[in-house]
Symmetry: C2
Subunit: 389 residues, 2 copies
C-alpha cells in the first residue's frame, strides 16, 4: 500500500497536518534576511508556553538526540558526577551520551514499564552528594511511561544544587510541563512527535540557574553551544543555517495550537490515552504500564496470546496501520501505539476497530466490538469530566 494511504501511529514521526504541509511548501528565503528574522521573532516567544517558561526556547537543527547531547555538553564538564534515570531506551541513550562525554554516571535502573519513585531519586542524590545534574526522561517513548519530572525537580531543588535536565522529546506539545514552577533547568525536545512537524528541528529551554552553569562551562562545544543560539536569537537569528521549511511549518503549528488552546490540546491527549487504554483492557490485552504511570502520547501492549510482530505486520499489510514494536530487550515483546500531535479521538476508534479484526485473525479471545465500545464509553466519560471542571 502506498504511503499516501498509511495510518501512521508510531510514537514519532507523526502525521503532519495539511495546513502545516502547505505552510512548509514555500519558496526558500535568505536565512540572514529580514523575512527570516521576522519569522524567528514571531515563532520564538510563542514556544515558551509549551515549556512552561519565560526563558528563551532555542531552535536547533538536528534530530532529538542533538538536543539531548546539547543538554549534556552545555550542562556538564568532564568528570562531573551525574545521576541518570534509566527506565527505557531513551534513558539509556541519555546515560550513554553522559558516559561518552566523560561523566561519572550513577544510573538509577528502573523496570521497563514503570515510573521512577521520587524517593529513589532523593536517596540516590543523598548517596552521591557531589552530583552536579540529574537527567530524566519525561515520556519514555520505548515504554509509554510518563515520569513525575516536576515532582522530582521540586525534591531535587529542596535538597541539592544539582541541575535537573529533562528529555521532553515525546511529551512536549502533548503533556503539560512547567519548568518555571518546578525548577527544571533544561527541557529539550524534537519536532516530529507532538509538535506535528517532520523530523529535523530540535528545541532547548534553559532556566536562569541553568544559564549560569552554561555560561561558566568551559567544555569544548561549537555546533551545539547553546550560548551561540541564545546570542543570535536576540537578533532574530540562528548561528547556523536553520531548516527553513520546518520554520515555515512551525509557525503554522503554533497557529493550530493557539486556535485549539494548549489546555484543550492536553485534554485531547488525555482523552486519547483513556480511550486507548480502556479499549485494550476490554480486548483482554495486557497493558505494559499502570494507569498512573501511563503517558498521554503513547500506549504499549505486551500480548500473551500472540506475537506482537505478527499483529504489527498484519495491521501494516492489510490496513496500512503503522505501529511501533519494542526496543532493545523488549523487541518482539510489545507493540506501541502513538496517539499524539495531529491525532484525535475518532482515530482511536479507527485503530481499535482495525485491531479487533486483526485480533480475530490471530485467534485472540475477546468479544467483538468490545474494544470500540469501551473507547466510546471512555470518550463520553472523560468528555463529561472535562466539561464539569
Amino acid at each position: 500500500m502506498n504511503r499516501e494511504w498509511d495510518l501512521l501511529h508510531t510514537p514519532g514521526p507523526t502525521p503532519v497536518p495539511p495546513s502545516v504541509e502547505r505552510a512548509m511548501n514555500q519558496p526558500m528565503i535568505g536565512h540572514r534576511g529580514q523575512k527570516c528574522k521576522d519569522l524567528l521573532k514571531e515563532i520564538a516567544p510563542r514556544l515558551k508556553p509549551l515549556f512552561g517558561t519565560s526563558e528563551d526556547v532555542l531552535i536547533l537543527s538536528g534530530s532529538g538526540t542533538s538536543a539531548l547531547e546539547a543538554a549534556v555538553v552545555n550542562a556538564t564538564r568532564p568528570g562531573d558526577e551525574v545521576i541518570v534515570v534509566v527506565a527505557g531506551a531513551f534513558g539509556d541513550r541519555f546515560a550513554k551520551i553522559c558516559e561518552t562525554y566523560e561523566l561519572k554516571v550513577h544510573r538509577i535502573e528502573v523496570e521497563w514499564g514503570e515510573a521512577v519513585d521520587v524517593e529513589r531519586v532523593e536517596s540516590t542524590l543523598q548517596a552521591f552528594e557531589n552530583t552536579k545534574a540529574v537527567f530524566l526522561t519525561h515520556c519514555e517513548t520505548s515504554t509509554g511511561v510518563i515520569h513525575p519530572v516536576e515532582e522530582i525537580a521540586l525534591r531535587v531543588k529542596e535538597i541539592s544544587q544539582a541541575l535537573v535536565v529533562v528529555d521532553g522529546v515525546s511529551s512536549i506539545g502533548g503533556v503539560e510541563i512547567n519548568m518555571d514552577r518546578s525548577g527544571i533547568d533544561f527541557v529539550v525536545t524534537g519536532s516530529q512527535k507532538a509538535m506535528m512537524l517532520p523530523p529535523g528541528l530540535a528545541f532547548a529551554a534553559v532556566s536562569k540557574y541553568g544559564w549560569e552553569v552554561v555560561e561558566q562551562n568551559d567544555r569544548p562545544r561549537f555546533y551545539l553551544d547553546l550560548r551561540s543560539y541564545r546570542n543570535r536569537l536576540g537578533e532574530g537569528q540562528t548561528p547556523f543555517t536553520p531548516p527553513l521549511s520546518l520554520l515555515f511549518g512551525l509557525s503554522e503549528v503554533l497557529n493550530l495550537l493557539d486556535e485549539e488552546g494548549l489546555k484543550n490540546v492536553y485534554h485531547r491527549h488525555q482523552l486519547m490515552k483513556g480511550m486507548t487504554r480502556e479499549a485494550f483492557k476490554a480486548l483482554n490485552l495486557p497493558l505494559l504500564v499502570s494507569e498512573e504511570a501511563a503517558s498521554a502520547t503513547v500506549t504499549s501492549v505486551k500480548p500473551n496470546t500472540f506475537q506482537a510482530e505478527d499483529l504489527r505486520k498484519m495491521a501494516r499489510e492489510e490496513f496500512g496501520l503503522i505501529l511501533a514494536g519494542g526496543q532493545k530487550h523488549m523487541k518482539g515483546q510489545v507493540f506501541r501505539v502513538g496517539h499524539m500531535g495531529y491525532c484525535r479521538s475518532s482515530q482511536v476508534l479507527q485503530y481499535i476497530g482495525i485491531l479487533e479484526i486483526i485480533l480475530k485473525r490471530l485467534g485472540h479471545d475477546f468479544t467483538s466490538g468490545a474494544g470500540v465500545a469501551a473507547a466510546q464509553e471512555a470518550y463520553l466519560e472523560i468528555i463529561k469530566e472535562v466539561q464539569e471542571c
Copy 2:
C-alpha cells in the same frame, strides 16, 4: 513583495525545484520501517558520484556546520597539530571549530578573494612535520573563490601522512570533485546550496585511510560520531531520526541530476559563471576574484562608485532580487550573487538586466545593455566550446 515572487540569488539557501517541493510534500513514514530503509538504500549509492568516491556518503541531520564539526571531531584528537587554510569566513569557521576542540592550529591566512598557493600549503606542512590534518575550503562562500583542493591533496599525500579535510558546502553538486583520484580524506557538505534542497541535511564522505583514523580515534563524540552513521547505513538506517521530508526531496534531486547528467550540471555552472563575470566586466564592476580562482557557484563584486548595500536594498525592494552582502570585515564592501543549483543561464540574463536598471539609478557609469550583451556573447562562446569538446 511576497516571498512567492522573490528571485533568490544568495549563495545558499537556493531555490528548490518544483518537483523536489512536490516530492518533499508527502505524508510522514516511520523512520524504522521498510519504506525508510528502501528510500535510504536507493539514495545512498547515488550520492557517491557527487563526491567522486566509491566510499559511503553519510547523511546527517543538521546545518552544514554540523558536518564541518563532524569532520573535526572524527578526524582529530585533542592536542593534534593541524593546518587550516583561512581565506574567508568559512575557513575561519573551520579554524574556530578546530580551536574549540583543542587542536594546535596553524592558520594559513590568505587574502580574502585569493586562492591559496599549493606551495604555501607544502611549505607550511614542511615547517610543521607533526601535522595530523590539513583543513581546506573548496568554495569559500564568503568570497567566491575556489581553492585547488585536489592539487593540494595530491601534494600533501606525496610528502606526508596528514589527512586532507575539505569543506564542500557551496561546491558539491555545482563543481566537480574527485576524492578517490586526489586522495582527499573527508568531504562534507550541506543540502541548501547546489544540492537544491532546503537546509537541514548534511553529508560526509570519508576515504579508506580516513576511516582508519576515525575508527582508532577515541575522542568523545555521540551525535556526530561518523562510525554510527556508517554502521547504520549498512542496514539502510540512520542512527537518529532523519529529516524525512528532505530525504523524499533528495531522491528527486538525484533524479534531476541523473536526467541532466553530472557533466552537464558542472558545465551549466561554468556557463553561469562565465556569463556573470563577463557581464560585470562590461558594466565596469570590479570583480573580487580572478578568473582562475573564481568559483562556478558564486560571484563577488566590490563596487567603487556606490555602496554595495544600496544596490542590495534597491534590488530587493523593487525586484525582489535577493543578493548576499559581505561577511566579517567585508560587510558593506561587496555584494555576492549565487548562481548554483536550480538556476540556469536565462536567470543570469534576468539578474543582469535588473542590475543594469539599479546601476542607472545609482548613477554608475556604463553603457545600457552592455552587461546583458556581454552575458549573451559569453553564452554563445562557452556553449560552442562545450559542443566542440
